[in-house]
């Protein structure tokens, strides 16, 4: 199987319960996935802070945040970077959503979602949209070098709100 095919076969699919986790968002604060029950949640796994382009994925989502908020959805960014890198990155990009640090044990949460790149030691560029009960309703793994944009997330959120 190609690398892409292996990846598509291990990533958690719609219908599965999203594994709960608790990760640091800052040196002294933690965030648990379960605290967002009751609202849709977007998990955006991304390889690393500070890619050198205007409109890297987190910058883009930061700009699109009001559109996610129309669905009462929360956005969480997750990479294996440590909390200090996240703090600097978040400040530099003026981010208004948490960045979570899947740092210790490295990639443990990403592994449970099937989105850890063993060969690189970082997460895939992967998106999950969870409904208000914590069930995965959409997931997508983008080629590592391609910013998947926001449209897939918005479509998933729309179909969530339509199926109510």
């Amino acid at each position: 199987m190609s690398e892409v095919e292996v990846q598509q076969s291990v990533v958690l699919k719609p219908g599965s319960t999203a594994p709960d986790f608790t990760l640091h968002s800052t040196p002294d604060q933690s965030v648990s996935l379960s605290q967002f029950r009751g609202n849709p949640t977007i998990l955006a796994f991304y390889p690393a802070d500070f890619s050198p382009v205007c409109g890297d994925q987190m910058t883009l989502y930061n700009q699109v945040l009001p559109e996610f908020q129309r669905f009462n959805a929360e956005l969480l960014g997750i990479s294996v970077d440590g909390v200090w890198s996240h703090l600097a990155f978040s400040k530099d990009r003026n981010l208004h959503f948490p960045l979570l640090s899947d740092f210790e044990p490295k990639g443990a949460v990403a592994k449970r979602y099937g989105v850890y790149r063993q060969q690189d030691g970082m997460t895939e560029r992967a998106l999950f949209v969870l409904d208000s009960n914590g069930i995965i309703r959409w997931s997508y793994v983008s080629p590592i070098g391609v910013n998947p944009g926001a449209e897939g997330i918005l479509k998933a959120l729309e179909s969530l709100s339509e199926s109510k």
Binding site: C54, N147, P148, A150, E151, L154
Partner: protein, 178 residues
């Protein structure tokens, strides 16, 4: 690397879009851009050269995609260009802004309007009441729904262009779309 085909969702319309070139041109190039983005600044002279080389064969369209959270002047710069558009000087202001990216605070935007001999009272009124913010948001959302993921993002004949926009590559791709 295989990349998917991503399509523009809001077709070009002379009722709303800023267009250079004829409707009948065989190739349409759309740029979703941010006036404070350095990459868009780099693309600016490349587009000019492409327009020069392709002449009548090219129709160029500019749409707004300001990344306001990281570019604090991008939104107002976009509004300034839209205000200039109302006075039929969109492209002059668009060009002026890209040629002065290091000075985009409100005072300078007003100076540029003055240099372009716009009706200043009208310009300033529209800037302070943010009359054009809605149009800019409409551009932005059309970009999001069309798969714009950063700036600049280009579309050639309605399909997102994913390759390098260096002059050579871009020209070759545009020529092959004719």
């Amino acid at each position: 690397m295989k990349t998917e085909i991503v399509k523009l969702t809001l077709p070009v319309s002379s009722d709303r879009d800023h267009i250079q070139g004829r409707t009948s041109a065989p190739v349409t190039l759309i740029e979703y851009g941010d006036y404070e983005c350095p990459y868009c600044g780099q693309a600016y002279p490349i587009i000019k050269e492409v327009q020069k080389q392709l002449g009548n064969k090219l129709r160029f369209v500019f749409r707004n995609f300001p990344l306001a959270e990281i570019h604090p002047h991008a939104e107002h710069a976009a509004e300034a260009a839209e205000a200039a558009a109302v006075q039929n000087r969109f492209w002059e202001m668009h060009d002026y802004i890209f040629e002065h990216q290091q000075a985009l605070d409100d005072k300078h935007l007003e100076k540029y309007a003055e240099n372009l001999r716009l009706n200043l009272a009208k310009f300033n009124n529209e800037m302070s009441s943010h009359v054009h913010a809605g149009r800019i948001r409409e551009d932005f959302l059309s970009g999001i729904h069309s798969g714009v993921n950063g700036t600049p993002t280009f579309y050639i004949n309605g399909i997102r262009y994913n390759d390098s926009w260096d002059l050579g590559t871009l020209l070759e791709r545009l020529r092959s779309a004719i």
